[in-house]
Symmetry: C4
Subunit: 283 residues, 4 copies
């Protein structure tokens, strides 16, 4: 009896290991096939959510779409359970970014029994598409993403300051346009005018609200030319950061810890000024 139990346990352990290799593995052939198949099913499931929202299609193929939705939900549920079962640290997976996304991807369908309007939440599945990066070009992407992230991080403060200025400018100019333009031209309140100002400064320009008076058009022209110059600033900041990032991969010797002199070359071993030994850092 005990021997049998042991045997079952060993069998289960092996099964878990095998599932683990298939689901979590990337470099194994089975793991790769599973990942690509999963990616297609995710794409299909996202497409399904999009199509369900189209009235015509939903009217005609309602039953088929609901059936497909259930098939996918059940498939994802099984996958979610297998992921939890097969890993040795189920909680770590469940609380990870992908673990939460995976859960939210299947919840809406079950919740829709109780609260019908939650079905839209299944669009969160789109985030599962991020797995693509892990699957397709692992090494290359990691480097690229890291570089992008570095550039964005480095520019963050400058861009925050910038966005903040834009919002304050939009409030002031929005109020001015609200006073200048008649209500009929769409500038019905200051918040609406601020919305128009952002639409204009970012050069989106829907045209649902547009100045009609001569003075309003004049101010709008100034705002646009200003926006034209303003758009250059965040671009410049990010560009400089990306360009700097490209140069940063080299090893730079830090300033001399003793006399603060800039080293004579990027890979100097001793300070050329006072002779202190220099350590190398990767900026």
């Amino acid at each position: 009896m005990r021997a049998r139990k042991q045997k079952v346990k060993t069998y289960l352990d092996k099964l878990r290991q095998r599932i683990n290799i298939i689901i979590h593995g990337v470099n194994t052939p089975m793991g790769k096939i599973f990942d690509i198949a999963l990616l297609f099913i995710i794409l299909l499931s996202v497409l399904l959510v999009l199509l369900e929202s189209v009235q015509n299609l939903d009217d005609q193929y309602h039953d088929i779409l609901v059936l497909a939705e259930w098939v996918i939900t059940i498939f994802f549920t099984i996958e979610y359970i297998l992921r939890i079962v097969s890993t040795r640290k189920p909680l770590k997976y469940m609380l990870s970014f992908y673990g939460i996304i995976d859960l939210i991807s299947i919840m809406p369908m079950y919740l829709s029994f109780f609260i019908p309007s939650t079905k839209i939440l299944s669009v969160v599945r789109a985030l599962r598409l991020l797995r693509l990066f892990r699957i397709l070009n692992l090494g290359n992407f990691t480097g690229q993403a890291a570089e992008l992230k570095l550039a964005i991080n480095a520019s963050r403060t400058a861009i925050t300051v910038f966005v903040y200025f834009i919002i304050i400018i939009s409030i002031l100019l929005g109020a001015v346009m609200y006073v200048v333009e008649p209500v009929e031209s769409g500038f019905t309140s200051i918040p609406t005018s601020i919305y128009w100002c952002i639409v204009t400064l970012t050069t989106v320009g829907y045209g649902d609200i547009a100045p009609v008076t001569a003075l309003g058009k004049g101010i709008a022209s100034l705002i646009m030319i200003m926006g034209y110059g303003i758009i250059a600033v965040p671009t410049g900041i990010v560009t400089a950061q990306v360009a700097n990032g490209k140069n940063r991969r080299k090893v730079y010797a830090p300033n001399c810890p003793t006399c603060k002199a800039v080293p004579s070359s990027d890979d100097a071993h001793f300070c050329h000024n006072c002779g202190t030994k220099l350590g190398a850092i990767l900026k």
Copy 2:
């Protein structure tokens, strides 16, 4: 009697000092709490001005909004008086940027007794939000803002020249479009055509005015492609400036004062050409 007067004066002096620490201080705990509380009230007061301009809300909650506006105005008035009283140089504060903004922020409500339409002026409060920078990330922001300012200052002449060219081009192309397009398509006058031209060159494109004739569409296409190329120029200028700014923080040795030779390295102490001692400058 005199002793009592002296005591009162000492007490008042201490009070002033205490208010000073709370209102003007940044690094003290009380000063920080006051600053953050003030920021929330400013945000609230700006929101209030925005909401008052929405017809629906003003109709429904007119009394509440007016009451809130009075409460905030009185609070700001007290704050303004305390700021004047607590500082040793009241005139310096009153004539400073923030001093004037603080005054304009409370004036409209009192003026609205006499001239009702001045209420909109209270939107100037939005400028008080600039204090955020002083409160939140002091050190970091100062550097970022200084860098931005440097880049914008350095690019100013180039951008001014550029904007000037755009205006002249817009006048000429506006006149051309006015001649080419019929009045029905919205090109009712040359100023309107210039407005359209700026809307197009900056890629805002409202669509309230758009060419309808074949020739007009052809010219518009040329303007757009031109604008496409033109937008690159100010961006390029600012980017080059920002990128230069990043490199400028290093210490650069100036050219040799004797023979004008470029130093052999950025931290050379003597000219490699004629032996003159070099001073270091921070460009």
Copy 3:
């Protein structure tokens, strides 16, 4: 008899050679004249396709346009046959980019006997305009195009990652706007909302769909400001690549193959650290 045949063959060979020089040659005077004449006919033929699609013109000048179309098609057919006949490797030409374009440029007119709607395919002729580069500024263009291609290639991964992120963001934000906005404002389905989101993020902003609720306008404002910051990233990447490309033409010494030290100068012949001889590479 045999001698005559030989003579005819020699004559044909000479003719083929001559045609070859005229059609395929670039640097010969006859080849240049032919190329420029061909370019004008291609331009004319493209113009013809465009004009045929204009209802007014087609109604009035239908017969003339059809005639011109036939004249050009027959001319292009003869040219196509001559190109095949005159070259020694007809299959290589036929399967080349230009060979396929040349065939597709003449097919539609013959196909239009059987399938009338294929006529539009003749717009592919526009691709024949690419020959312009070969004809006009050969040397200069090759360098420029190569540089552009290098910059685009180098930025490809970063931009792909970026576009992918934009699509995922658009799906999520599209779903949010679909929930927030009423159907009347144009957000009729999630795919339509995604379309709107792309129109907004790229700052195109048609205005055929635009938010009408306060919440929708707020979210739209956030999307626009985000897009404003986002547009900076691909620009920054390409700029950094182009700028790097400009600097890359110099000869750079590689890192030392023995001790991996960065060379002391760009044209060092020996490693300054361990004395290993360095080879020069063109990055």
Copy 4:
């Protein structure tokens, strides 16, 4: 008699010299005052042309506007004659850029006697505003403009190639959209579709023509995202050029004429490799 003639001639010569100083001079006080006064009159005259095109204003103030136009035209005529008379090389002035602009600025009013519709030509006066640069910040501007011109010149080939590609892409995509979209949505002909494509690629987006079918919206989305990436390329090219321009002002030692080695430093006097004397060039 002869003496008197001589005296008159001397007087005229002095007068001419004086006029010359006032009209052509920039650094003399009188010349500066004249230039600034002239600039205001030019501004006024441009404003006049703009206002005349506004129907309302022209109806109300027709007589005043015509009078003002005549006063300015006569003033400009006198100025033009004085410019010719006062200079020693009248033909050189008359055939210069400003000479031709000055003539075109006064012609329309006189021509309007014979051909009424030529009055619009007087908008060319806007070009006279370019004198502003000469008047206001001479030294600074010359440098800035030269730098801009250098950057634009250097980027010209790359941008030309680029614009050419955009046009070919627009023709192909325009034809595709013409086939995909129904006539009712505004895609009435291929030229119109091309116009729409340019409006979209440049992110102007009027919205007068917009896709209505699902397929059309899909293709439009692809075009927009493509345009998003494309806009980065000319920006990158110009930026790299401007940034390079900034670095170019330094004196660079050329590669060694004997052994082609890159000099050891930017101001080396002798080749560090073979000892050849190096000349300095300003790139």
